[in-house]
Amino acid sequence: MKLSPKLQPCRWDGLVVLLVVVLAAACALAVWSRGTDTGELTAVVTVDGVETERIPLKEFPDGERTYSGNGYTLHVRLEASQGETGLGLYVAAADCPTQDCVHTGTITRAGQSIVCLPARVIIRLEGGTVDRDAPDVVIG
C-alpha cells in the first residue's frame, strides 16, 4: 500500500516524537530518583513520649546539646568520621543511675537509637543513606 504524500512522516514529525520521548524519560527519571532520596541523617529526640527536637546531624553544634527528663540530664555530642555518613552521636555524660545511654556508644545510621529509661529520653536517627545490609530492628 502506498501512503499519500501528506501522510508520509516528515522531519518535523520525527522531532515531535523525539521531544515526547525525551519528556517521558525525563519525567520517569525525576519520579524514580526522588523515591530513593531519604533525606539527610537526622536525630529525632523524644522526652517522655513527646517529640521535642528534630535536628539534622549536619546542623548539630560542635559542642554539645543537653536533653533533660525526669530529673536527669544527658550531654550529647557529635562524633565525626564514624559510619558511612561520617557523623554520629553519643552521650558523653549523664547523671542517670543506669548509665546505659553512655554505654551505648556512638550511633551512626538510621534506625539506631540511644535510650535512657530513667530520663525517659530516646534519641533516634532517621534518614541518610540506606544500608540494605543493616538490621531493620534489633532484639535482645
Binding site: 516524537v17 520517569a28 538490621p135
Partner: protein, 358 residues
C-alpha cells in the same frame, strides 16, 4: 521504524505512569515510626500503609492499657488486687484469666521452668524495685515454698492464690502485647511493619524492597554495642523473642547476678546460655487478639534459657510447639535449629562458632 518508535514511546509512558502511581498511592512510602517507653522497656512501632499513623497510635494505647491492667506495682491493677487478696477469690475478668491459663500451660509443659508465681523470689533479689541484694538461702526456701502452678486456682474468670503467693505476668505481657498488636495491624490493612517491644519483635510482611526484614540478635557479650550481633535473622511474618541474662543484672562481691530466676533453685539460672531467641511464624489468618504465638515465644524464651542447651533442644525436638531457636552459649557457640537455618545469617566478625542442629 515507526512501529518501533511507537512501542518505545508506549513503554516509556508506561514507565512514567508507573512512577506517578507509585508516588501517589505508594503504601510503601506512607511510613509512621513512633517510640514509646512502656512496660519498663523501649518500644518502636514502624508501620507502613495508608493507616500507619492510626495503627501506631492504636498500638500505643493498647500497650498502655495492658501495662496498667497487668502491672504488679500499680495498686489499681487487677494483678495487684489478686496478689494482695489474702487467698480470697477475685474476679479478674476474661482477658486476665485467659492469660493466666496460657501461663499455666507453659508452666506445665516446661516442667516449671516458666512460672508466673516466681514473682516474690524475683523481688527478693531486688529486681522489682531495682534495689539489688543477694537473699539468704533461708529466705529463698521460704519463698520457694509458695512457688508453683498448684498455688493458683482458676474458675470462671475468677482467680485465687495461696496466701503469700504472688504472680507477675511480666514474662508474657510483652508477648501478649505483640499478639494484640498483630490484630491491630491486620484490622488496619497494614501491609508491612516491624514492632519492637524490648526483647520481643514482630516482623510483619516484608521490607518495601520485597526482601525479608533483617532482625539483628544482640551479641550478649557486648550488650551495649549498637553494632554487635550474634546473628541476623531474615524474617517475614514472624515473631522473635530473645531472653538473656545480660539484659538486667547486678554485681556483688565480684559475682554477677542476672534477672532470670530458675524457679527450681531460686537463683539466677546458670545453664550455660547467654541468650535464647525463639522464632515462630505469624499466620495472619490465625491472628485474633487472644494469647497466641507471640505469647508462646515470650514464655518459651524464658523457660528455655532456664533449661539450658540440652533440655531446650530436647523440648524443640519434641515438636510440642511449632518454633525454632537460636541459642548463644557461654563457651562462644551459636546453635541454630535447622528450621530457621536458611533464614539465619552468621556474623563473621562476632567471633562465635556456628552450628546447625536437627
Amino acid at each position: 521504524m515507526r512501529r518501533f518508535a511507537a512501542a518505545l514511546l508506549a513503554a516509556l509512558m508506561t514507565v512514567g505512569l508507573c512512577g506517578c502511581s507509585w508516588q501517589t498511592e505508594s503504601p510503601d512510602e506512607a511510613r509512621e515510626v513512633i517510640q514509646v517507653i512502656a512496660m519498663d522497656t523501649v518500644m518502636i512501632f514502624t508501620t507502613y500503609g495508608e493507616k500507619s499513623t492510626h495503627a501506631d497510635y492504636l498500638s500505643e494505647d493498647e500497650v498502655r492499657r495492658l501495662e496498667s491492667l497487668l502491672s504488679r506495682t500499680d495498686e489499681n491493677s487487677v494483678i495487684w488486687q489478686l496478689n494482695y487478696a489474702g487467698g480470697l477469690g477475685i474476679d479478674v475478668g476474661e482477658e486476665v484469666c485467659g492469660l493466666m491459663e496460657a501461663a499455666e500451660e507453659y508452666a506445665m509443659v516446661t516442667d516449671g521452668a516458666f512460672d508466673i508465681t516466681i514473682a516474690p523470689v524475683v523481688s527478693a533479689w531486688g529486681f522489682t524495685e531495682e534495689e539489688n541484694r543477694v537473699p539468704s538461702q533461708e529466705e529463698l526456701d521460704k519463698l520457694l515454698a509458695l512457688v508453683g502452678p498448684e498455688h493458683i486456682t482458676l474458675a470462671d474468670d475468677a482467680a485465687a492464690l495461696t496466701p503469700g503467693t504472688q504472680i507477675d505476668l511480666g514474662g508474657i505481657a510483652k508477648g501478649y502485647a505483640s499478639d494484640r498488636i498483630a490484630e491491630i495491624l491486620q484490622e488496619n490493612n497494614i501491609p508491612r511493619a516491624t514492632i519492637s517491644l524490648g526483647g520481643n519483635v514482630l516482623a510483619w510482611g516484608d521490607r518495601p524492597d520485597g526482601t525479608p526484614w533483617r532482625v539483628g540478635i544482640q551479641d550478649p557479650k557486648d550488650p551495649n554495642n549498637a553494632n554487635a550481633f550474634a546473628g541476623m535473622l531474615h524474617l517475614t511474618d514472624a515473631f522473635a523473642v530473645t531472653s538473656g541474662g545480660y539484659q538486667r543484672f547486678f554485681e556483688k562481691d565480684g559475682k554477677t547476678y542476672h534477672h532470670i530466676i530458675d524457679p527450681a533453685t531460686g537463683y539466677p539460672a546458670d545453664s550455660g546460655l547467654t541468650s535464647v531467641t525463639v522464632v515462630a511464624d505469624c499466620d495472619r489468618d490465625e491472628v485474633d487478639g487472644t494469647p497466641g504465638v507471640g505469647t508462646m515465644c515470650d514464655a518459651l524464651s524464658t523457660a528455655l534459657f532456664v533449661m539450658g542447651e540440652e533440655k531446650a533442644l530436647d523440648f524443640w525436638r519434641s515438636s510440642a510447639y511449632d518454633f525454632d531457636l537460636v541459642l548463644v552459649t557461654e563457651d562462644g557457640r551459636v546453635v541454630v535449629t535447622d528450621g530457621i537455618a536458611n533464614e539465619f545469617e552468621e556474623i563473621k566478625e562476632s567471633g562465635y562458632s556456628y552450628e546447625v542442629v536437627s
